[in-house]
């Protein structure tokens, strides 16, 4: 009896562990989370699969329209589009890679390109896309997709990751003249603006969001990133202390609330009137314009404040999205041809994307940027566009390309400080984690 029960218990444990392992197994394409186009691929035509991260309906519609247009424009290649929700992306992509059915083309943020290239997850595109299309890119953005002299992805858009969005009506009611220009002022204003109805400030509220949305502040406060240039040594030094202290002070004062249930990129809680100020990317413009038109006249933007009060400094990174081709694809040429057609060819294919997103994002292509600036109504459609283009974008840095765990170590340190851990202790822990990551992933000497 005892042995039977042991066996039963043992099998129970095995079955339970199988559930752990099941998380590591492959999942089929499509499924309830994604919206696969579902159309049939004509016989004799090469199929190219394409996964895009799904953000808004307007963006999804553009993706569908550009894919449809390409499929209609020729009869040799058929692109099959699948929109995958952002929160399911990593799991689905890793599972698809494990199962050997990763999509031929995928959207990829700039920060992921270097690591993906170094680990052969994506194919070099330098020779598969024309020199004309490469040369049309702004030089710094082209640099963000270049690894050891080869371009590994074609940029689609750039957008500053951190902008100060604030309510002019609430500022006026509180007797505050204008947006804060230092972090000390930001903390003071946020406390002044906080009452039973409204919180003073919204920043990223969990470690993963803090990891990437604070890159600009990290640059600003320390003048360097938390890992040496050659990725051989952690540099999460005391230089970052004022940033962690600001999060701690804001949270302790009640001006920065605990998690409100939505991620950093989502501006809905600001739109609902829960906050007087919000740090968010330029993409928040399209959400506010579409979903909260009544609030728009009372919202203004400014660069996120710097720590020394000087203007014209880096407080945001230029993030955004590229299209990359899978390292195992058998249709790299066809995939690259489609990418060039959709993103790097006729500006008429890509301008509608920026129109649909109400000019809340910027094209990295010179010719597309010129075409957009020639449109008569950009600043009318997006009232914050001029400030973003003139006061924020020129000073933003490209996203860092070191592995995610390095960024996460800093995000966890900021979160720990916010929750009350002494700042020095949080930074020391972050530095240890970064050094462990360098050793475990053998990063030394692989930096940019």
């Amino acid at each position: 009896m005892r042995s039977t029960r042991r066996l039963t218990g043992g099998l129970g444990v095995v079955a339970a562990t199988a559930l752990v392992l099941a998380a590591c197994s492959g999942t089929p394409d499509g499924g309830p989370e994604g919206s696969a186009s579902g159309e049939e691929v004509p016989e004799g035509v090469t199929e190219v699969t394409f996964w895009q991260q799904s953000f808004t309906d307007e963006e999804n519609e553009w993706y569908e329209s550009v894919v449809d247009s390409y499929n209609e424009s020729q009869d040799e290649v058929h692109v099959t589009l699948t929109a995958v929700p952002g929160d399911a992306w990593e799991q689905r992509m890793t599972a698809a890679q494990a199962a050997g059915n990763a999509p031929d083309i995928r959207t990829m943020n700039y920060g992921g390109v270097r690591n993906a290239a170094l680990t052969s997850q994506i194919t070099p595109l330098s020779d598969l896309i024309s020199a004309e299309a490469w040369d049309d890119l702004q030089e710094n953005v082209r640099g963000s997709v270049t690894v050891d002299g080869e371009e590994y992805a074609y940029p689609m858009l750039v957008e500053p990751s951190a902008i100060l969005w604030y309510r002019t009506d609430l500022f006026e009611a509180a007797g505050i003249d204008g947006p804060p220009t230092t972090w000390d002022e930001l903390v003071a204003d946020a406390e002044l603006l906080t009452n039973d109805e409204v919180f003073g400030m919204r920043l990223a509220q969990n470690a993963p969001d803090m990891s990437w949305s604070t890159w600009g502040y990290q640059w600003n406060v320390a003048g360097h990133l938390p890992i040496s240039d050659d990725w051989s040594e952690g540099m999460a030094t005391e230089d970052y202390a004022p940033l962690l202290q600001a999060f701690q002070d804001l949270f302790a004062s009640g001006a920065l609330p605990p998690a409100d249930g939505v991620g950093y990129p989502d501006a809905s809680t600001f739109g609902d009137g829960q906050y007087a100020m919000m740090a968010n990317g330029s993409w928040a413009a399209s959400q506010l314009l579409s979903d909260y038109p009544d609030l728009v006249p009372n919202v203004a933007v400014a660069p996120m404040p710097s720590f020394d009060g000087q203007s014209g400094q880096t407080t945001a990174t230029l993030g955004g999205w590229t299209w990359a081709v899978d390292g195992n694809t058998e249709v790299a040429e066809e995939a690259a041809t489609f990418i060039e057609w959709a993103l790097g060819g006729d500006t008429e294919n890509v301008v509608p994307f920026f129109e649909a997103t109400q000019f809340s994002k910027v094209s990295p292509r010179v010719s597309v940027a010129e075409a957009i600036s020639a449109l008569p109504d950009v600043d009318t459609v997006n009232p914050w566009n001029a400030v973003i283009q003139e006061e924020i974008v020129p000073f933003a840095q490209p996203e860092p390309g070191y592995p995610w765990n390095v960024s996460l170590a800093m995000g966890e340190a900021i979160e720990a400080a916010m929750q009350g851990t002494p700042v020095s202790e949080a930074l020391a822990a972050a530095n240890d984690k970064i050094n462990t990551e360098i050793a475990n992933s053998q990063l030394a000497g692989t930096g940019s």
Partner: protein, 311 residues
């Protein structure tokens, strides 16, 4: 004596003929077990064996995998986050499992004591959480725990307490997750307890009553000993399920704040989606398997079930 001798040969003869039907029974038994064994082999045993194999490599989906021996296990064993997640899982289980067992016992007794209609109503009410998806339960509890509009803060506000960041503070987040975990696990445990209770012959209670035993004495000396095996089964299965809980922290807190709700499975899952070489995740899953197997074995050894079977 002669009768006995006379009966012996036929008995021997029957004994000689026995193997044939017994063999047929075995064949039928194996045939009926085959589908389950095949499925177990494909979906449990083979992945387990393959996982051990993979754990010795820096696995890559894009380049040739590199054999690294025990390096992945060493990385996991040296990782304080892994051990912290195991400790956190144990703390979580220490709250959730006893709560489920005690509440299930109380509910099962209530259902048994009630009339048929009320008993059925209570049974259905208790069972409903079991058929609710963990995802939906997570979302419901997030709404309950919301800082400004949440039901819980509204309730404590009525008696003069200030709003609490239940999920937003490292000191309360894990505790906040125990409520939905207990709620989700209670239904099935209650029904299993009820089945166990109904299996105890009423005559035991009647005899005890005649001897003057009160409710407490009947519970302590009859119900609890005879429910021992049910309790042991629920203890191990609830423990294994609870320490492996990952839906609730994934959806409600993403493991935060400050990793205060990062339970072992969620830690492995998050590493897996952010692990270029996969080896760490697989090694961590296997080490978790070893830890769980070891703890389950300890539970089985400490709480011996055989006496109850004999009783």
């Amino acid at each position: 004596m002669t009768t006995i001798q006379a009966q012996a040969p036929p008995a021997k003869g029957r004994a000689r003929r026995r193997p044939k039907p017994a063999h047929r029974d075995n064949r039928i038994a194996f045939l009926m077990l085959a589908p389950a064994l095949v499925l177990l082999g494909i979906f449990v045993l083979w992945p387990l064996v393959y996982a051990w194999y993979v754990s010795f490599f820096n696995w890559s989906f894009y380049t040739e995998s590199v054999f690294v021996g025990l390096r992945n296990f060493r990385l996991v064993l040296a990782d304080p986050v892994f051990w912290a997640s195991i400790g956190r899982g144990l703390r979580f289980s220490v709250i959730v499992v006893p709560a489920i067992l005690i509440l299930a016992f109380v509910f099962a007794n209530l259902v048994k004591a009630m009339g048929q209609r009320m008993g059925t109503l209570l049974k259905v009410s208790i069972y409903i959480p079991t058929v609710i998806s963990g995802v939906i339960a997570s979302i419901v509890f997030v709404l309950i725990y919301e800082y400004r509009q949440g039901l819980l803060n509204w309730l404590i506000g009525l008696v003069g307490f200030e709003n609490q960041p239940w999920l937003g503070s490292a000191s309360t987040a894990l505790l906040a997750l125990t409520a939905p975990a207990i709620w989700l696990g209670l239904g099935l445990a209650s029904l299993i307890m009820l089945a166990g209770l109904l299996d105890i012959p009423e005559s035991y209670y009647e005899s005890a009553e005649l001897d003057g035993a009160n409710w407490w004495q009947r519970t302590v000396f009859i119900t609890v000993p005879l429910m021992r095996n049910i309790g042991l089964y629920l203890l191990v299965t609830c423990f294994v399920a609870t320490i492996q809980q990952y839906e609730l922290p994934l959806i409600m807190t993403s493991g935060g704040p400050v990793q205060s709700t990062l339970l072992p499975n969620l830690h492995i899952f998050l590493r897996f989606t952010n692990d270029d070489t996969v080896g760490y995740s697989i090694a961590a899953a296997l080490l978790l398997f070893v830890v769980l197997g070891g703890l389950s074995a300890v539970i089985f050894r400490v709480i011996n079930s055989e006496k109850a079977v004999d009783a």
